[in-house]
């Protein structure tokens, strides 16, 4: 358990860490000497990879994994045999290519990519950090920054643990372990996770190289900028002022808000790249469709309902999957419970109920909201529909209870 946590920290560091200047593109199939710093970082990444394989949130769907690997290989070209791809069911917009060729693709990124071209561009961006060996430069930069923090080393190590585990909850009991007897266990790159970020120049370089890689792989180069525009728009849709003001905090570029100039640079480079109009929208949607419902449920756990609603609007723009999408729209409004949200939730459940792909729970929720509103007849109709469609549901007795209490009330 401990080992895997350390490994995860190393992975986060690896993400944060990667490139050198454009001159030093790495060759395929090489492994650094184990006595070098790079060798050490690879060793950490190896451990991170071993730990990642055993995590609870690894997505084991063979079809999805094959699809993601396929797109990764298109942008990675001759490096493909060096890469091992893992899909993780984690709701944040994130992907990383660790220095040892271990690739994490988070479901939050897949849910937010409109099409295969946008997805390929983000993978191309991350892969460029890897190909340009950005890790070492970032590591050394962090090392010089760390001088400032000598006295605060203990505190930083703890931050590192929290940051690296993606822990929004300071990781419950485990953090006690980290904070007490085992501080020295946070050897490795723990501190780094708090400091370690790619530089603005490295990000700019990865932007342009990623776009180029996606274009060479046959994708529409204009989708690169579109990907970042969507991220920025979703950030603006947050329920929280601090998130809106931080612009791109949901992205991997946390420390470097997406500037308009980065989007402008992508727009500027696009016409110079091979022309294509292939965005792969339909095949992309087909690949993620079996997971839409579970991933939206995961996204609701973030409890930034403004962002989830914005995301659902984008997913619904093409008129597909409206049963599932309207159901989760209803869930977001119901959970948020702001002024007028229950009314919006009711309307969304109703819209879902008209679609063939609706989760059956939509009728139960519709019944509950109508009951709250004093619409006994409407509530009864919704509950009865639920029971008719899901007579074997484990909570059928609960819905039956609600029906009975309606009868008593009327």
């Amino acid at each position: 358990m401990r080992g895997s946590r350390l490994a995860l920290i190393a992975a986060a560091a690896a993400l944060a860490v990667l490139p050198q200047a454009a001159q030093a593109q790495r060759a395929a199939g090489l492994r650094p000497d184990s006595t070098s710093l790079e060798g050490g970082i690879w060793g950490s990444a190896d451990k991170a990879e071993a730990a990642a394989r055993t995590k609870a949130d690894v997505n084991h769907d063979p079809a999805l994994n094959a699809y993601v690997r396929g797109v990764t290989c298109k942008v990675a070209a001759d490096h493909c045999p060096d890469l091992r791809v893992y899909v993780l069911d984690r709701p944040a917009f994130n992907a990383l290519v660790a220095p040892n060729g271990y690739v994490e693709v988070w479901s939050g990124l897949m849910l937010r990519s409109t099409d295969e071209a946008e997805f390929a561009y983000v993978l191309g961006h991350e892969f460029s950090h890897f190909a340009q060996n950005h890790t070492l430069v970032a590591y050394n930069a962090a090392k010089s920054r760390a001088n400032v923090a000598l006295a605060a080393k203990v505190a930083i190590a703890v931050v590192g643990v929290a940051a690296a585990s993606g822990a929004t909850t300071a990781s419950e009991a485990q953090s006690i372990m980290d904070a007490t007897g085992n501080l020295i266990d946070v050897v490795y790159l723990a501190e780094i996770a708090a400091f370690f970020r790619f530089s603005r120049e490295q990000e700019a370089e990865a932007d342009l190289l990623g776009q180029k890689r996606a274009a060479i792989a046959g994708y529409d180069a204009r989708s690169a900028a579109q990907s970042w525009r969507s991220v920025m728009a979703e950030t603006q849709a947050s329920d929280f002022k601090r998130v809106r003001e931080s612009r791109s905090r949901t992205s991997v570029f946390e420390s470097h808000p997406l500037e308009a100039e980065r989007i402008a640079a992508l727009d500027k480079q696009a016409p110079s790249l091979p022309a294509s109009s292939d965005r792969g929208r339909e095949r992309y949607r087909a690949a993620i469709r079996p997971h839409l419902s579970a991933w939206l449920r995961d996204d609701l756990r973030r409890r930034d309902f403004g962002q989830t609603l914005h995301l659902i609007d984008r997913l619904a723009a093409g008129g597909e999957d409206l049963g599932v999408l309207n159901y989760y729209r209803g869930e977001a409004y119901r959970l948020r419970r702001g002024d007028g949200d229950l009314g919006r939730a009711r309307d969304a459940y109703l819209a879902a109920a008209a679609q063939p792909d609706t989760p059956l729970a939509a009728w139960r929720e519709l019944g509950d909201i109508r009951k709250r509103d004093g619409d006994a007849a409407g509530a009864r109709a919704a509950y009865e529909t639920y029971l008719a469609k899901a007579p074997q549901a484990e909570d059928a007795w609960l819905v039956q209870d609600s029906l009975t209490s309606l009868d008593k009330g009327s």
């Binding site: 358990m1 401990r2 080992g3 895997s4 350390l6 190393a10 184990s34 006595t35 710093l37 060798g39 050490g40 970082i41 690879w42 060793g43 950490s44 451990k47 071993a50 394989r53 055993t54 962090a142 090392k143 010089s144 760390a146 001088n147 923090a149 000598l150 006295a151 080393k153 485990q174 006690i176 372990m177 007490t180 007897g181 085992n182 020295i184 266990d185 050897v187 490795y188 790159l189 723990a190 501190e191 780094i192």
Partner: protein, 225 residues
């Protein structure tokens, strides 16, 4: 001035001799001669503690220490007439064995983190993996499992210089340390028979054969093996 520095360094080194802390269940049953001991591949992670306070991972040290510790464990087991087998934990993370491996992680973290703090654990070393341990034993053809984990860092020359400078200002700078935690689990009963936590001193440098030997001897000092 030079002498002062030398004294300071000596003080810092003296404070770091090998110490062990053993916990053992009441009336542990010693494995019989020939018992099959599964040694879970020691999870060792070593780094260089730099002047700035960051720890650089060192793959060569890690590999060297892992090999040294594994070799010393093997010779210690053979000296005790036990059958020895090394398990790479990455190969055992699936199925029920994998659950037992993870449960062991939770149990050993609990021993370290809560062994003394919980009123419900006062006066009794009664940690267990439960009946499922038999499944691990059957899958691995073993009677006991020995889990070893070590982490550590070694100060760089620059780090030592910084430490000396800061010591004169009255600030203590950690010079790196190495520690090992080991548990012995009876796979028939699931009971954690014995656990030991060792902080290694500078003469127990696990990167060297002699250091690894001293460390493993200290680790297994009171083991009911």
């Amino acid at each position: 001035m030079k002498r002062l520095i030398a004294t300071l360094v000596a003080c810092m080194l003296i404070s770091a001799c090998t110490t062990t802390h053993t916990q053992v269940m009441a009336n542990p049953v010693k494995p019989a001669a020939g018992a099959r001991i599964l040694v879970v591949d020691p999870d060792i992670q070593l780094g260089l503690l730099t002047a700035s306070g960051m720890t650089e991972p060192k793959a060569d040290w890690t590999e060297q220490a892992r090999a040294n510790i594994a070799a010393q464990l093997e010779s210690e087991m053979k000296a005790r007439a036990h059958a020895y087998r090394l398990l790479d934990p990455d190969d055992a993370m699936g199925g029920r064995s994998g659950q037992l491996m993870r449960l062991h992680g939770a149990v050993s973290a609990s021993i370290q983190g809560y062994g003394y703090a919980l009123p419900t654990k006062k006066g009794a070393f009664d940690w267990t993996l439960g009946e499922g341990a038999q499944a691990l034993g059957a899958a691995q053809s073993a009677d006991y499992a020995l889990f070893v984990r070590g982490v550590g860092s070694y100060a760089s020359g620059g780090r030592v210089a910084t430490a000396v400078g800061m010591a004169m200002l009255g600030v203590s700078v950690p010079l790196g340390s190495q520690q090992c935690f080991v548990t012995l689990v009876d796979l028939k009963t699931g009971r954690v028979v014995w656990a030991n936590f060792t902080i290694a001193g500078p003469n127990a440098d696990m990167r060297e054969t002699a250091g690894a030997s001293a460390l493993v001897k200290a680790l297994l000092k009171d083991a009911p093996l």
